[in-house]
């Protein structure tokens, strides 16, 4: 029921209120009441037929950076030891 799935926006209509999203070749109707300025091609988290958040490209990079930082910190501490 409450599994959120990342899906791509493939169609938007009704002035941005509704549209179609797609993941793994499956298309389904989705409501966009809670997201502003959505564009075709954006990724959203879909929850019970409703997009609850947009996946932001900028933040996705930061997310990766956070992982890298963790791992780089890891390497430096290793070097410290040697």
């Amino acid at each position: 029921m409450c599994l959120g799935i990342a899906m791509k926006v493939v169609e938007i209509y009704d002035g941005g209120l509704n549209g179609v999203v797609e993941a793994g070749g499956v298309k389904r109707h989705c409501f966009f009441h809670m997201i502003d300025n959505l564009k075709v091609g954006d990724y959203v988290i879909v929850h019970a037929g409703c997009a609850i958040e947009k996946i932001e490209e900028k933040e996705a990079q930061e997310n990766l950076k956070l992982i890298e930082q963790c791992l780089l910190g890891d390497q430096t501490s290793e070097q410290d030891k040697t």
């Binding site: 209120l17 409501f31 091609g41 990724y43 929850h47 019970a48 930061e62």
Partner: protein, 365 residues
């Protein structure tokens, strides 16, 4: 076309590196730690990716009250089944509620006894069904803030037919978990914050967990690397003697949450006390319709009666201890024997977010 690469979060190389990092950091821990997540979907990912096997012995990850299906009280299930059997109405429900046992019956059993119960994927489907039906249609509105928000937005923004009602058992996770912490019913050394529920509420509300209880609290997504990253940040905080809220899921969660969703919820619902299955009544943890939206309230429209003799858990079922993280499914003598997803005895064996169901599906006997 978007360039967002979502698969890196499952890259085996990154997963291996993160797990090595955690092992190294964990070696500095002064005592073993227990990290609780409060999201059923996290348990699903943890079992699916076998993440517990990647963690050192001194880190235990436990599942908390993270599944809305598991915490829906038998009292509410019984009352709505009774109504559906008695009156000429149609009940609309999410699929994972169907097999959840009430005191005597599940929706599924009631359906076989003639109750008109239909499974829906979203409230939007439910509204369409009501438009075509001549009967009153009641949507059993179950779920945390992630589902409460779509319910609220639909009631506020859509054309709703006169025969459509909701029976709200929506719950607000942060207040529920906060109350449990305060009561001492649950304890842990750190929290993994729910990925999707937090997109709605934001992370600010969890500052009271970090500050009030000294709990490092880190929000995580649902891929292997997401969860390991959160654990890595938690162990780092503990070693640095810190307790703060951090976001390991920036690509989705904003610190302030989704303002539009919060507004929809605030306009339609207010928070009041609510019964959590096996945990009892918790103040300010349940969403009820505000006066302006009372006309959708099945609790007002129909003569719903409650009895005190409802049974939350059958004899032997340990769900109430499992959702508090005090026991694991393996501690339940019925697990995988008398209790399976095909014939569940407790609610935790039903939904895909239930801990027992996840452990059963993952073959963790």
């Amino acid at each position: 076309m978007s360039k967002i690469k979502l698969d890196v979060y499952n890259d085996p190389e990154i997963v291996r590196k993160l797990s090595n990092f955690i092992k190294k950091e964990a070696a500095k821990l002064e005592k073993p730690i227990r990290i609780m997540h409060i999201c059923g979907t996290h348990e699903n990912s943890i079992v699916r990716f076998g993440l517990r096997d990647l963690l050192p012995k001194n880190i235990t990850v436990i599942a908390g009250p993270g599944c809305p299906v598991c915490v829906t009280s038998s009292r509410d299930i019984d009352a709505i089944i009774e109504l559906t059997l008695k009156e000429d109405i149609k009940l609309l429900t999410f699929g994972d509620m169907l097999k959840v046992p009430g005191s005597r019956l599940s929706f599924f059993r009631a359906k076989s006894m003639g109750a008109d119960i239909e499974m829906i994927y979203s409230i939007f489907d439910g509204i369409e069904i009501a438009k075509k039906s001549s009967k009153p249609c009641i949507f059993f509105a179950c779920g945390f803030e992630t589902t409460a928000a779509p319910t609220a937005a639909a009631l506020r923004d859509l054309d709703i037919p006169n025969n459509f009602y909701i029976y709200s058992v929506h719950k607000y996770t942060p207040n529920g978990v906060y109350a449990l912490l305060k009561s001492g019913k649950i304890s842990m050394d750190a929290l993994i914050l729910p990925g999707h529920a937090s997109t709605i509420s934001g992370l600010k509300t969890y500052e009271r967990f970090a500050e009030g209880f000294g709990l490092p609290s880190v929000a995580a997504g649902f891929e292997a690397a997401d969860i390991l990253l959160a654990i890595a940040l938690i162990v780092k905080q503990i070693n640095n003697r810190e307790a703060k809220v951090e976001n390991a899921y920036n690509r989705v969660i904003e610190y302030e949450g989704n303002k539009k969703a919060q507004k929809a919820i605030d306009e339609v619902f207010y928070l009041t006390s609510s019964i959590w299955r096996g945990l009892g009544e918790i103040e300010n943890s349940g969403y009820e319709l505000k006066d302006e939206y009372k006309r959708f309230d099945a609790k007002e429209e129909f003569n719903i009666t409650y009895t005190d003799d409802y049974i939350e858990h059958q004899k032997g079922c340990k769900c109430n201890e499992i959702i508090l993280g005090n026991l694991t499914p393996k501690d339940c003598p019925l697990f995988g024997k008398r209790c399976t997803p095909y014939d569940p005895i407790g609610p935790c064996m039903v939904s895909d977010e239930g801990t027992c169901k996840n452990w059963y599906d993952g073959g963790l006997f």
